[in-house]
């Protein structure tokens, strides 16, 4: 085994990086892959609560880097998926506690034992960004269909290119198809045309994302959730399957109106 490292990042904060990381990780492991998630958001850890593993933390990523524990000791096994692990971020330190080469070394140590290594990123373009981008084989940029998020995504996509980690692939999160139909939200086509990179996922705005996070159960576990389905599709595309995008924003058509669930 030689894991691929996927870094999930964004320009603007709060667009759904942690949600995306947790859900793709669970989706990949549900299909039998061995997956480890690294929370790269040092000082603002969140991946643990979204995955429902916050009570099991003993050691964290900075403990590993500073030699207070072995890598295995910092790995928390998921409750449902026996082949899914989390290495949490330190909560009381800042991003200067680790360096890009620490992250590369850590991932190289994990690679032989896993199929996928997923890294959640802090918002922004400073040191934290360089840490999480250094080991990446694949970079996913998450954005929302809003002006500020798209603008900041463009900035990050440029930085990923200049670090020679491109081309990044785009996840459009929190798409509200009824707003798109009304002409009050940028469409998927608008966003991909502006950013000019290839799309890997379209995740609808979906209340079940929040209720699942409340329970510490990523939404992919919910087979009825549309967001969950979108994350499962991203996982399949990462594995190289050709999964068509569901038509989401056909302008007001009669049947869609009749059968619309939301």
């Amino acid at each position: 085994m030689a894991a691929k490292v996927i870094t999930v990042t964004s320009g603007k904060g709060g667009v759904g990086k942690t949600t995306t990381t947790a859900n793709i990780a669970v989706a990949l492991s549900m299909d039998g892959a061995k997956v480890v998630c690294l929370d790269g958001d040092i000082g603002l850890r969140n991946l643990d609560v979204v995955m429902g593993l916050e009570n099991r933390i003993v050691y964290d990523l900075v403990d590993v880097v500073e030699g207070r524990c072995r890598l295995r000791q910092a790995m928390i096994r998921d409750k449902q998926n026996s082949e899914l692990y989390l290495i949490p971020a330190a909560q009381t330190r800042d991003k200067n506690a680790i360096s890009p080469s620490d992250m590369v070394r850590l991932c190289d140590e994990l690679r032989p034992d896993f199929d996928w290594i997923l890294i959640d990123s802090p918002a922004g373009i400073e040191r934290g960004f360089r840490n999480v981008i250094a080991p990446a084989d694949i970079v996913l940029v998450v954005t929302n269909p809003e002006v500020s998020a798209v603008r900041d995504a463009d900035r990050i996509i440029g930085l990923v290119e200049s670090e020679e980690k491109g081309p990044a692939r785009l996840v459009i999160n929190r798409l509200n198809s009824s707003m798109v139909k009304r002409g009050d939200m940028l469409s998927v086509d608008d966003v991909t045309e502006l950013l000019a990179i290839s799309l890997i996922g379209i995740v609808p705005e979906d209340e079940s994302v929040i209720s699942s996070a409340n329970r510490g159960q990523p939404v992919v576990n919910d087979t009825k959730s549309r967001a969950g389905m979108a994350f499962r599709d991203i996982a399949r595309r990462l594995r190289g399957e050709d999964v068509p995008f569901p038509p989401m924003e056909v302008k007001d058509d009669f049947f869609k109106k009749l059968f619309r669930v939301n």
Partner: protein, 89 residues
């Protein structure tokens, strides 16, 4: 909030279209880090250099930032006046 009347009458530009047009301009600026003033200065200086060697018509010169996907390029189109070829070589 525009009502359904506006929409049917087509008098209202959707906020999504507005967002897209605004973003197009913002992104060109963000990506190149060049203001249109910078481009004008660049054009003037470039023209001075070219004119040291060949005779050109400044009105015919176009210098633009083009983009193809995420790639930006500075494209200069400088038509040469007839009879210039001898001096260029």
């Amino acid at each position: 909030m525009p009502g359904w009347m506006d929409r049917i009458a087509g008098t209202h530009t959707s906020s999504a279209n507005l967002a897209k047009e605004r973003l197009k301009l913002v992104l060109i600026h963000d990506r190149t880090d060049l203001t249109s003033e910078d481009v004008d200065h660049l054009k003037d200086e470039l023209m001075q250099v070219i004119r040291k060697y060949i005779d050109i018509d400044p009105g015919e010169v176009s210098i633009l930032v083009n983009h193809d996907g995420r790639e930006q390029r500075l494209v200069a189109d400088v038509p040469l006046r007839a009879g210039q070829r001898r001096r260029v070589g």
